[in-house]
Symmetry: C2
């Protein structure tokens, strides 16, 4: 029996390093597939169809939801966002793992749909001061926007205890190593190595042939 | 809430590299505690009380079993062997992990007694030819003794699917890295980091104080 790919869910408040960790993990293991979200919002300059998002009409998106073709979806400020199921199932069948950079609501929906195939990791910031300074550092946003982001961060953090693993991102190198360690260990779980049943049958044939 | 130490059970047929892996893991992390077995058999030359075994009289051993002071025990060729509970519980309370080099029967009894605190790892040999050559290489044993060991190995291997993780020891360095990876990842599991509840309360106080 061949190995089935697992689904690695990475969540954190924005500013805690999740995107950097995702990018580094994708570079570390080229066999990983990144789950690209579908959305009904208009592309922004520079965004590429299929790389940044699958841009869909609302009618097409809603048809996918109705047909069970979204693993999770949500409406945010009037736009729909979701994770298409088909590429995930294809990767699983090929034995490739899929990485989701996703919030707690999406993570929870995927966990409900895919159960034991899901491994979920929450990244905590070392402090709120650090989180805020990263949020401020990367854009010239108004105080209102910053305040809204911080409120969203607090709400996201309140779901940390629903995850399988938790990493505190005090140090990016350490946090990245922790993430790699989690993925490697999950691949060593017995129930993720169904091909070992054949291997052990081979060992038993060797015993019998002695 | 402080971290509670976990119990790492390592099993394999003899000759698959379990003892070498145990020794290297103990050297890698000096905070680990190795579970020394108790036994009623007589000490052999060079064996040290408390390092190789806790040598006990049968009466003392049986009193420990009756008092629930053995996590697991079994009788082998007329001698009793077991894992004393008290040092394990002390290590757990100190947040130190305990390593057990133990067979499937002992592992199963510990799993039943300690449930979610247990992480179990089975080490498979790359082949039976390799297993036999390691068994023959290390002692001048009679064919009968070799045959008995091989039969015990086959029986031990038949329990591989009862473990949380499985490592195939094709290469000792790789197998050792796998073992370290499993221990590190298990330490990152949310339910093994109860101290994070305090940490997140601190983050929430920081949010409130903004």
């Amino acid at each position: 029996m061949a190995r089935r790919g697992l689904l690695l869910i990475l969540s954190s408040p924005s500013g805690a390093g999740k995107s950097t960790l995702s990018r580094r993990l994708m570079a570390w293991d080229p066999s990983l597939r990144f789950s690209v979200s579908a959305t009904t919002r208009a592309p922004r300059p520079g965004e590429v169809q299929g790389r940044d998002y699958y841009f869909e009409t609302r009618a097409a998106f809603e048809a996918m939801v109705a047909g069970g073709q979204m693993l999770e979806h949500a409406e945010v400020f009037g736009n729909l966002y979701g994770s298409p199921r088909a590429p995930v199932e294809q990767a699983m069948a090929e034995g490739r793992d899929t990485l989701f950079d996703i919030d707690w609501q999406g993570g929870q929906q995927i966990k409900q749909a895919m159960r034991d195939d899901v491994v979920s990791v929450f990244v905590l910031p070392p402090s709120i001061a650090e989180l805020e300074s990263r949020l401020r550092g990367r854009a010239q946003d108004s105080e209102e926007v910053i305040a809204a982001r911080m409120a969203k961060s607090q709400s996201e953090i309140s779901h940390w205890a629903e995850y399988d693993y938790v990493i505190v991102n005090n140090d990016l190198e350490k946090a990245f190593n922790d993430l790699v360690t989690i993925l490697q260990a999950e691949r060593l779980r017995r129930d993720r190595q169904p091909q070992l049943a054949d291997f052990v049958r081979g060992l038993n044939r060797e015993f019998s042939a002695r």
